[in-house]
Symmetry: C2
């Protein structure tokens, strides 16, 4: 595998947090790092130059969605996602497995593959480990994911163990199927909220020696405390010298807790999805900008933020955009929320480099719960 190097630059003395630098063929990701989600090769409503200005270094795109529309071959004709979507920084694609389990209809799974129907037009399709790698090689992201089986929260221990075993089996087949040497293929740890199954999953995958490890199957309905204790049981099993990616998580407090537990990489639709729904994350807690209290509010959405939404507009104007159904509302709040998330992980990284993450965690929790928190 060429073009990659992960350096752990500092470990916080008060938590398990760590600051690193992950070099990829398309440039570095400083860790902890947050990847905005560009499901269909676009972060909804935002141009790459706006994402860059918001602090984003790496994006995520979804294999399942792109395989259906426009089809991975069209992306491949462009030379891959970077050219297709005009993002010259690093990109990660998921395996498509999570979406097949959550979106597709009439699904059947066996050890060989998943057979499902497209959520768009009902076409019958198959996803096997080999096919997941093939699609991701066509898409050409820097970081690609093994196909995993992600059981919903509340599945029996027996079913979760079966998913762990199948995930390991598929991980080996993904590794064997990989042809390109310029993509980092990550294994995905499953195991629900069972510490012993998580440990087994991680240990089984470690034998396959992946260049990085993802923690999947969290933020699927379990309580936050269960997510955190699962990370407590899982992360210590993962190798220090490889990047660790917590898939699909999460709220700012989840990112904070996961960074304290040694996670390096994150992605989540929350900043963009909530932004489109008029909810802004701010340094003093969430703001629901459609609220009538902001009708005459001349103040900045978040005075501590340097994004265009906070620098150039009032809360009153942002509210007006949403009330009037104007596209610029979702655009500006998405831009703000991504800026917020990117600033959050940058601040956490700085706290780790200063070895004061435990104190900083308490500061953040106090601010978020503080008297000026409004919704």
């Amino acid at each position: 595998m060429t073009g990659f190097a992960f350096d752990c630059l500092a470990t916080d003395s008060t938590t398990s947090g760590r600051a690193g630098l992950w070099q990829t063929p398309h440039g570095p990701l400083e860790t902890p790092g947050f990847m905005p989600v560009g499901t269909l090769a676009t972060v909804k409503g935002l141009l790459p130059e706006q994402l860059r200005a918001a602090g984003a270094q790496m994006l995520l795109a979804n294999t399942y969605h792109l395989a259906l529309r426009p089809g991975e071959k069209i992306v491949e004709e462009h030379g891959g996602l970077h050219r297709f979507m005009n993002w010259d920084g690093p990109i990660l694609t998921d395996s498509g497995g999570f979406q097949v389990f959550s979106l597709a209809a009439r699904r059947s799974v066996d050890d060989q593959q998943i057979v499902f129907r497209s959520h768009i037009d009902g076409t019958e399709l198959q996803l096997s480990p080999e096919r997941a790698v093939e699609i991701q090689e066509s898409l050409g992201a820097d970081c690609i994911m093994c196909l995993d089986e992600c059981p919903p929260a509340g599945e029996s221990r027996e079913q979760i163990l079966a998913a762990v075993n199948r995930t390991t089996l598929w991980a080996a087949r993904c590794r064997d199927a990989q042809k390109r040497d310029d993509q980092a293929l990550f294994g995905i740890v499953q195991g629900g909220v069972h510490p012993d199954l998580r440990q087994k999953s991680a240990e089984d995958l470690l034998k396959l020696d992946f260049p990085g490890y993802a923690v999947g199957g969290l933020s699927v309905g379990e309580p936050p405390a269960a997510m955190y204790s699962t990370l407590d049981a899982t992360v210590p099993v993962l190798p220090v010298k490889r990047p660790r990616y917590l898939m699909g998580v999460g709220r700012p407090e989840d990112i904070l807790e996961a960074v304290c537990r040694g996670i390096d990489m994150f992605d989540c639709v929350m900043p963009t999805r909530n932004g489109r729904n008029a909810m802004a994350f701010t340094s003093n807690g969430p703001v629901r900008i459609r609220n009538a209290r902001y009708r005459h509010d001349q103040s900045s959405l978040d005075p501590e933020c340097s994004c265009p939404a906070c620098t150039n507009y009032t809360r009153s104007y942002l509210r007006h955009l949403f009330v009037a159904g104007e596209m610029l509302g979702p655009i500006l709040l998405s831009l703000h929320n991504i800026t917020y998330y990117e600033q959050l992980v940058r601040d956490l990284r700085a706290a780790i480099l200063d070895s004061r993450l435990a104190d900083y965690r308490l500061e953040l929790l106090a601010r978020w719960a503080g008297p000026t928190s409004t919704s």
Copy 2:
């Protein structure tokens, strides 16, 4: 009236086209100039910095819409539209009359005022000449419009004459109602497609000595040839030393023909509305980007255009955005179309300064009708 100066810099020797510079309190508009439409104090989907980069110098906002939402008082609390929408260049507001006639329900008009119901919540409202000026003074645009009566195409000559007379009456009342001295109040010529009524309307308004004149009531359903012949009859009556604004027009060919007839200013929703509907204006004619022929098309939307959509993306990607229902499609095509319109008026201005507008007109018409024109 302070802060304004209109200079006619050159008159084309082959047409009635002219190139000018209109200084306003918020900077210059080079004429012929095109104003993107920001109905609700936002050009749909675009940030001011993107509009500026697309070549826009002046924007239009709609009095009727803003008076309903958020209400002109909220805009006034911000110090006016410039601060509210973060556009530091010149802004023009219409009088609201056209929208009352086209959008509002249960309308009744007499010489005193228009009584109507909001198209949003049915509230009964009044719009008089005095009220139109009052709202526009709260909104604080650089250029404001007299309330006019704009009859639909196909009205009888008698009704159009009545509208001309009422428009003159209202224009005098608007002039008398004006308190601010930093806004240029334009009179609006009506008269349908009747040359003599247009001339009468213009002559009546000239007696009121406005700093600029608009031609209203065109592009309301009449054939293009009727619009052009109406301009032939109207524009020569207008004073050379005042800017001339053709309201709500139009297609690129309409702008071309109107510039050849001595019009200085334009606004139209077409670049943004068509952009949102996947239709791009290009140097070789219109492109309907959802068309299946663009599925694998790696070429630029318009190789002659320097906008982000044309510089950074393929037709295949742009098509994908629309097929997938992604916001970035409307954003990029709106940005492109505004860039196209701004480039068009800049090119027309250059042709006037070189006194070759007649030849340039023929070149453009040939290109637009040419063999590479696709839809």
